[in-house]
């Protein structure tokens, strides 16, 4: 089992060339593997950072020059000199506002982490402070007092993950059963096909507005977290299509031999679905779920941004609106975090997908 997990996650193939070089087996071949799979990708990342750095420096200089020129044109030579000095002294207030350099982004990352530590400290202190009050309130049947201060970056990540997970589950719960039903009947499949094809390409924004209209009316007097509801339902609706289509495809293309065996054995409809149709379409379903999760994560950011619901999306939006001098850098930190989490989620799904496929042929 441990071996299997290592193999499926790719850890084994990651480690094996190192181990083999260390053992002195097939040194040349393994060095080639290492070069191809690790050294070159690392080099390409390095190159990317270099290009980014050069570009950012160029933009910085351009913005600085235009700032100085503007001061000179509006307020004369002395002002221009003042602005120039201010910029090169590194004074925070007069830095040109443009694409931040890699170093700035790294700084912003560290400051976000520090910020998270401070906020968690505050939260803990708050929790201690209200511990007794909350116990009393619980006895009286009242809701506990919770911390309502500003969430940290890490909290935002947590919220986003929660939302995407809820949306993903919703998508699975809607798409898999419907997919099975329409997969079983070619009549249903053709009659639903248009509807699916029309709804599938609808933009996340439109789904959000639609969900907003419905949720607003339905939950006008409920005290549930409306923005969370709206964003996770929209995420679910946007992302469920891949699973729906794949499930119905998988179910409708069950191997003809399996169908014949089921007929010869006279399996009941229930047995047929649970013992034959579902297991044989599991690989397809999980391929769909993998796409669904990656779509969900992608649209989540846009939806949070629009719905003003807490999470990475609104973090990005707030920073953009905020316009503080390190806002741009924070946005880019968020970009990388979003990308890496997306990558991680996809990896997890890939492992599950591989475990589900009985032929072990998934790329």
């Amino acid at each position: 089992m441990k071996d299997k997990i290592l193999q499926l996650t790719g850890i084994q193939s990651f480690l094996s060339p190192w181990v083999n070089i260390f053992k002195g087996e097939e040194t040349k071949k393994n060095i080639n593997i290492l070069l191809k799979s690790y050294i070159f990708p690392l080099l390409s990342i390095l190159l990317f950072v270099l290009v980014w750095h050069t570009g950012a420096t160029y933009l910085y200089n351009k913005e600085a020059t235009s700032k100085i020129e503007k001061a000179r044109a509006e307020r004369g030579e002395a002002a221009a000199l003042e602005v120039q000095n201010c910029i090169y002294s590194g004074e925070v207030g007069c830095q040109p506002n443009t694409l931040p350099s890699p170093a700035k982004v790294w700084e912003a990352y560290l400051s976000l982490l520090a910020d998270h530590k401070i906020i968690s400290g505050k939260k803990e202190a708050f929790a201690k402070k209200v511990e007794k009050t909350n116990a009393k309130r619980a006895e009286q049947g009242k809701a506990a007092i919770t911390y309502t201060g500003r969430p940290s970056f890490v909290d935002q990540i947590g919220t986003s993950l929660k939302t995407v997970f809820a949306g993903f589950l919703l998508a699975a719960f809607i798409a898999i059963p419907i997919g099975i039903i329409i997969g079983l009947s070619s009549t249903l499949r053709t009659s639903m096909n248009w509807l699916i094809q029309i709804l599938k390409p609808v933009s996340p924004v439109v789904w959000l507005l639609l969900v907003f209209m419905i949720v607003k009316t339905l939950m006008s007097d409920s005290d549930m977290d409306k923005s969370f509801m709206i964003s996770f339902i929209s995420v679910g609706l946007c992302s469920m299509w891949a699973t729906l289509v794949n499930t119905s495809m998988g179910v409708s293309t069950v191997d003809k031999d399996f169908v014949n065996v089921a007929k010869v054995l006279k399996l009941s409809i229930g047995q047929n679905i649970f013992k034959v149709v579902l297991p044989s379409s599991l690989p397809m379903i999980f391929t769909g779920l993998r796409i669904t999760l990656s779509v969900a994560w992608m649209v989540l950011i846009a939806i949070e941004l629009l719905a003003q619901s807490p999470g990475l999306g609104s973090f990005v939006w707030e920073e953009f609106q905020n316009g503080a001098n390190d806002s741009n850098a924070k946005i880019i930190v968020a970009m990388f975090v979003i990308g890496m989490i997306g990558f991680g989620l996809d990896r997890i799904m890939m492992v599950i997908q591989k475990m589900m496929s009985f032929n072990k042929e998934v790329a």
């Binding site: 014949n260 007929k263 054995l265």
Partner: protein, 282 residues
């Protein structure tokens, strides 16, 4: 037509292995009767009649093999008997009852093993046994499955996943699954067609061994003339399509239980073989 000195149609031929013993008229009851059956596939270019006016009677406990050119409609005939393919005209009766749909009384072994790859060997057999013996205890059902898996030589592989078995092993499970259903008729559509010749020989022996005990009426399609002689009591030769029917048949009166070496070395073996080859080459 009969350049070989044997009489192919049912009659009073001398048994070749045991010349003293006369083959008498088969008095066993009919297990399978195909009466005037036809199969017409509608195609874009009009109807295509694969089989027409086909008659076939198989006695209880008889093993027949069907040979014929590729595309003549052998699989079509078999799937019609199995109830997996509509019968365009005519009737098929199994043990006196007309065939209307598929059922476990007509077990099928397909060319590809068609096991459920997500199940173990045992589960693959069990799913059928559960359908046929719903009132048996769990232990009894397990015993049936294990008995047949053991018989086909998989005594140590009950809990291996089907996807982890070799082609030949998978087809063994397929045979076990079919026999475990205790069918009235066993239908085999080129069950060994995908196997290498060594495995094929092994599986022919396995099939004969299990069949010898159960004497289930069996119909096996094959491309292999030697296989058809080795296994069957009677070889049915189908004419080429369209409008294919049964062109000729040849009794194989070798005694059972059969042994490959004895049969291959038998002086009359090549006469049978030549007769069948002759039919196919015309």
């Amino acid at each position: 037509m009969n350049q070989y000195n044997i009489n192919p149609i049912v009659g009073t031929t001398k048994s070749i292995i045991n010349p003293q013993k006369e083959i008498v008229e088969d008095t066993r009851p009919d297990m399978l009767v195909c009466k005037d059956i036809a199969k017409i596939y509608p195609t874009p270019k009009g109807d295509y009649t694969v089989l027409s006016d086909l008659q076939l009677t198989v006695k209880k406990g008889e093993f027949i093999s069907v040979i014929g050119h590729s595309g003549c409609g052998k699989s079509t005939l078999l799937t019609m008997i199995a109830g997996l393919n509509d019968i365009s005209k005519g009737h098929v009766f199994v043990d006196g009852e007309e065939v209307r749909e598929a059922g476990p009384d007509r077990a099928v072994v397909f060319q590809s093993p068609s096991l459920f790859p997500w199940m173990t060997a045992l589960q693959n057999v069990m799913i059928g046994v559960k359908q046929v013996f719903p009132h048996a205890t769990k232990k009894q059902k397990q015993d049936i499955c294990k008995y047949y898996l053991d018989k086909v030589g998989l005594g140590n592989d009950f809990h291996k996943r089907a996807s982890e078995l070799s082609q030949g092993m998978q087809q063994r499970v397929g045979i076990a699954r079919a026999f475990a259903l205790k069918p009235k008729v066993l239908l085999l559509d080129e069950p060994f067609g995908m196997l290498d010749s060594l495995t094929r020989g092994e599986l022919q022996d396995v099939l004969l061994e299990v069949w010898q005990k159960e004497k289930i009426t069996a119909i096996m399609i094959t491309h292999d003339v030697d296989e058809s002689i080795f296994l069957a009591d009677r070889v049915i030769m189908m004419t080429s399509g369209p409008f294919a029917k049964i062109g000729d048949e040849l009794k194989i009166p070798f005694e059972r239980p059969r042994n490959r070496v004895d049969i291959l070395e038998h002086p009359d073996y090549y006469q049978y073989r030549g007769y069948l080859m002759d039919f196919l080459n015309h």
